[in-house]
């Protein structure tokens, strides 16, 4: 008895916490719903590359897309415009200055050696560049705790690096990033493991942010040509502000209709399910803000589907409870077995959904990711609200009392008990193979 009351207060506490977060935390909405910033980049010709070809633009677009994705922002748009421009649209939630810095960097990593050029000693390219990398990581130097960038070469890169270090034993080798000398260590022995480290140019080494940015840039790949931001504006939602305003209104009508249906068909339990659905909405919305999830239309689709599944869980339970009541069980047992028997189907279908969401989230990109995240969260929360919350409310209200008002459950007095016999005879009939 006491547990019931405790659980009720726990639910109240969860709702209050959720409401607190909803009020204090900002909502993050994606480009399609509220808009964001729009940057126009133009590929720049250089002495070595006087003409911008379509191939270059393709790889530039690919590299920029990679970088924008590394910003961890949901669903950005990178689009070709004309012959040598790219339009990049990123949601409001991003730090624009950081994004600009990040997008504009060429990220060219080069290993150089000293050689005689026009009678002067100078650094010359060795052919080993950022293209030969498999992965870059931030790590710390165990000797002095400084931040360093660890490089992991691919097969070809490892071979090149081994050859280069063999050639340069006893001499200096230099690492250039974006044309800037990072470090120029002496090579003591050939390095064949395919790993290398870049230490910061200055005495203090890298700041963490510096190392992290270099790593992100290296992993995203170098730009094939330098690109300059030539235009910068803010933009409205890609789905059109007019459409979004109408859809908001329509969504409210839709949910209202569902709630009306639940009460009309399932009566009192339907009302409880509606309360549970509101709690569901509050908790999920709070989670979106806490994590935070940048909501886009794909995310909202996942959200709609999870609402459907939450409502379905309650429908399953109530249909089951009704069956049990018809079979003449007491109210308390009917409610309990309604929940217990519906549980396996709710559990199995939800676990399947969550498994697929995890896989989609890990492997998918943009749209797929946003969808999978909100659906998984929604389903997880619905397991709590549609089962625990609804059950708690039903028990608190009905306790162990008798079923005095069958109409509260959408049943007639005459339904009760009768159906039990009907089901039984059907089973008997079925035994003889005369199932209608």
């Amino acid at each position: 008895m006491k547990n019931k009351v405790k659980l009720f207060w726990f639910i109240v506490l969860v709702v209050i916490t959720a409401v607190y977060f909803i009020i204090t935390k900002p909502t993050k909405l994606g480009l399609d719903l509220v808009g964001g910033s729009r940057l126009v980049l133009e590929a720049q010709t250089t002495q070595t590359m006087p003409v911008i070809t379509q191939d270059m633009m393709n790889s530039l677009q690919f590299a920029i897309e990679n970088r924008v994705n590394k910003l961890g922002v949901a669903e950005t748009v990178v689009q070709r415009q004309g012959d040598k421009r790219l339009v990049v649209e990123i949601p409001d939630v991003t730090d624009l200055d950081k994004a600009k810095q990040f997008i504009g960097e060429t990220a060219e990593l080069e290993f150089k050696k000293l050689a005689m050029v026009n009678g002067q000693m100078d650094w010359v390219s060795t052919g080993l560049t950022g293209k030969d990398l498999n992965k870059a990581m931030v790590s710390s130097n165990p000797n002095n705790g400084e931040w360093v960038v660890s490089l992991d070469f691919n097969n070809e890169g490892a071979k090149k690096f081994a050859d280069l270090t063999r050639e340069l034993v006893g001499k200096q080798m230099a690492i250039f990033f974006n044309g800037e000398l990072q470090s120029a260590p002496n090579v003591n022995e050939p390095i064949t493991g395919g790993h290398a480290q870049i230490t910061g140019g200055g005495n203090a080494g890298f700041a963490y942010e510096e190392a992290k940015q270099m790593v992100d840039l290296l992993n995203a790949g170098a730009l094939p040509v330098p690109a300059k931001i030539i235009e910068e504006n803010t933009v409205g939602p890609t789905l059109g502000a007019d459409s979004i305003a109408r859809s908001k209104f329509a969504g409210i009508i839709g949910i209202g209709l569902v709630m009306l249906f639940m009460v009309a068909y399932y009566r009192f339990p339907g009302l409880i399910a509606n309360v549970a659905l509101c709690i569901y909405g509050v908790i999920l919305f709070a989670l979106f803000k806490i994590i935070p999830v940048t909501l886009t239309l794909a995310g909202i689709a996942g959200f709609i589907l999870s609402i459907g599944m939450a409502v379905d869980a309650n429908i399953l339970i109530f249909e089951r409870t009704k069956e049990e009541l018809k079979a003449g069980r007491t109210l308390f047992t009917a409610i309990n077995s309604g929940f217990d028997r519906a549980f396996t189907s709710i559990f199995d279908s939800n676990v399947t959904t969550i498994i697929s969401c995890i896989i989609l989230y890990m492997l998918g990109t943009s749209i797929v990711k946003g969808f999978a995240l909100t659906l998984a969260l929604g389903v997880a929360v619905s397991m709590f609200t549609a089962i625990t919350v609804t059950r708690n409310f039903m028990h608190l209200i009905f306790d162990t009392g008798d079923l005095k008002h069958p109409e509260w459950f959408g049943l007639k007095k005459s339904d009760i008990g009768d159906a039990y016999k009907a089901v039984e005879t059907k089973r008997e009939k079925a035994k003889f193979g005369i199932l209608d």
Partner: protein
């Protein structure tokens, strides 16, 4: 009303075939005849198109966006993407306050379409000035498709594994075939819509398909769960087919009510919601309906068919 699904399973399987065939035919026809060689008519998200930018002196251009969309569509500009670009203060000159960007399919240089759009723009926003016409590339590349397909295939393997552990392998297979059934149906419908009504698919379509897949599996599991439970109690008294029938009847009210509630929400979004998401909502709505149909009539029939076949083999 008592429907004997198991007895009539061949009819239902035939009905599924009939439901899918026109769509499959349309997809094959489209793959051959469209210049893009895709089974569905793809929108500018995939093909790229033309962007026209108009400078206007109004600071609240959103109010008239809906009108503009209606007028553009009435004059044959399909699915225009309308987006407002706010001009930053330093760039404001000659009373230019914001830019309306209209993105649509490729417009050839010097064609009349540009003039037509310009005249609609000037009638909607007095003093609108065409600033720029440029071609734009696709925002969704084949990369995204490939990546999504790989992710989806692995997700399906995950589903098969889980359902095989919790049920049996043939249930898992039936659930996945049900999923394929539903996805094929939606693809087919949109292929037909593309052929006859010029409906194009955009990035949202992928999302809608994911929703359909999610619902399809979910709904099938609920029906199978009941079969599993009834098998435990009645497997000695009833044949497998009878149990399937019985279970479907028990879950029928739930199946109908669940899809009804979801369809209600979507219908509201379809009728009263924004134009830009209408096809997206339609795809989801049809998916929920076909998903409910397939879990009752298609998946259950399949499992029964296989079980019957296995029994006959055993007997022989």
């Amino acid at each position: 009303m008592k429907l004997d699904i198991v007895k009539n399973k061949f009819w239902f399987l035939l009905l599924s075939v009939l439901l899918l065939l026109p769509g499959i035919a349309a997809m094959i026809y489209s793959s051959v005849t469209y210049p893009t060689h895709t089974p569905l008519k793809v929108g500018i998200d995939y093909t790229g198109g033309t962007t026209l930018q108009y400078g206007i002196n109004s600071t609240s251009p959103n109010d008239k966006l809906g009108d503009l969309r209606v007028k553009l569509q009435a004059s044959g500009i399909d699915n225009p993407y309308l987006q407002v670009i706010n001009v930053s203060d330093d760039n404001q000159k000659d009373g230019l306050k914001s830019i309306i960007s209209i993105r649509t399919k490729f417009i050839e240089e010097g064609s009349k379409v540009t003039d037509e759009i310009t005249s609609i723009m000037t009638s909607e926003y007095g003093g609108a000035e065409l600033l720029q016409v440029s071609s734009v590339g696709a925002t969704l590349g084949s990369e995204l498709f490939k990546n999504s397909l790989i992710a989806l295939s692995l997700a399906i393997l995950g589903i098969i594994f889980y359902l095989t552990v919790r049920f049996q392998f043939d249930y898992a297979l039936a659930a996945i075939l049900g999923l394929v059934h539903d996805v094929l149906f939606i693809l087919g419908v949109f292929s037909i819509l593309g052929l006859f009504w010029d409906v194009q698919i955009d990035g949202l379509f992928i999302t809608a398909l994911l929703t359909v897949i999610g619902f399809s599996v979910h709904d099938t599991i609920v029906v199978f769960d009941r079969v599993r439970e009834n098998l435990k109690y009645y497997s000695k008294k009833m044949s497998f087919g009878e149990i399937v029938n019985f279970s479907i009847h028990q879950t029928l009210a739930r199946s109908i009510n669940t899809s009804l509630t979801t369809v209600l929400t979507l219908l509201a979004l379809y009728l009263f919601g924004g134009v830009t998401t209408r096809d997206f909502v339609l795809a989801m709505m049809l998916g929920i309906i076909i998903g409910t149909y397939s879990s009752i009539f298609f998946c259950a029939s399949l499992v029964d068919l296989w079980r019957e076949g296995a029994k006959k083999k055993q007997a022989a």
